[in-house]
Structures are given as structure tokens and as C-alpha cells.
Symmetry: C2
Subunit: 89 residues, 2 copies
């Protein structure tokens, strides 16, 4: 089976986010003073082949831990669903 | 009302994604040859104050169009829900 995966990589609470802070500081001047708490993260999308959803999740978790995130600074949130397009390459 | 917002900014289909391609090329050597179609995007989280959900969505769409994305190269996907923590600053 093929699964579509979205991994959201975000800075952990309390870790400074200069990029988000810069965006937030600029917004009032641009007319958006109702926006607060801007945090910039990464969104990684890919497909993975696995026997079932549980096996896919296990591999994605390992991928996150080993390569996609720095666990000291970053959290990851995984969303996974069967691919609508079947096995894509 | 305060809403929690997630904006996923992704490269449009067909736009080259060198960062994603580099990750994908490396994965087989690292033992993940079942992963394909890697695309790197941004995940922007923030809170917005608005009268209701419709007004919040309208402002977030404007923010995406004007500042968070380059509409020639990028798509944005907005997820919005009432903030659990009320008005955060």
C-alpha cells in the first residue's frame, strides 16, 4: 500500500523563533495587527510504501527521529492517509 | 474571538523543489528506499483575532496572498479552529 504523508516540523515551545518574530513584528505596519504568536515551521510531504498503516507510521516516526527533525529543538506531527493515486513514483 | 491558524505553504505542482529532491536522493542510502515524491514546504502557525470564523478566514487568505506566499510558485492551505486558550498574546 502507498500512503500520503505530511510531517509538520515545528520548533518546540520556548525555543526562540527569529523568523516568526520578524514576521510578527512586520505585520502591524502592513495592516495586520490582529495576528500574534507567529511560529515558522516546515511541512514535508511524501509518499511511503508499507504493508499497512501501522507499519507506515512506524517508519515515518523513525524517519522523523533520525533525519527530518532535531529532537532537541523540534517537534514533529505526522498525518498519514492511504494514497488516492495508488503507488506513485 | 481568537482562532488558531495553520498555513501550509507548498510549491505548486511542476515547480522544481531542489531541497525535496536532495532529501529523496539521500534516503535510499540511509535505508529508506520506500519513500518517494518528497516536497518541502513551510508550516506557519499563528493566532488571529476576528469577529467570527468567516472574517478570520478572509483575513488569513489576504495575508497569504499578500505576504506569506509567492502565488506564482506556491499554494497555501489554511486550517483554522477556535483557540482553546482564548485570546493569547
Amino acid at each position: 500500500m502507498t500512503f500520503d504523508v505530511l510531517v509538520e516540523v515545528s520548533l518546540r515551545p520556548g525555543i526562540a523563533d527569529p523568523q516568526g518574530a520578524t514576521v510578527e513584528r512586520s505585520l502591524p505596519r502592513l495592516g495586520f495587527d490582529e495576528v500574534h504568536g507567529v511560529r515558522m515551521g516546515k511541512a514535508v510531504r511524501f509518499t511511503i510504501d508499507a504493508a499497512d498503516e501501522e507499519a507506515a507510521l512506524r517508519r515515518v516516526d523513525e524517519l522523523c527521529r533520525r533525519f527530518l527533525t532535531n529532537p532537541v529543538l523540534e517537534d514533529s506531527t505526522v498525518t498519514l492517509e492511504p494514497s488516492a493515486q495508488g503507488a506513485r513514483r
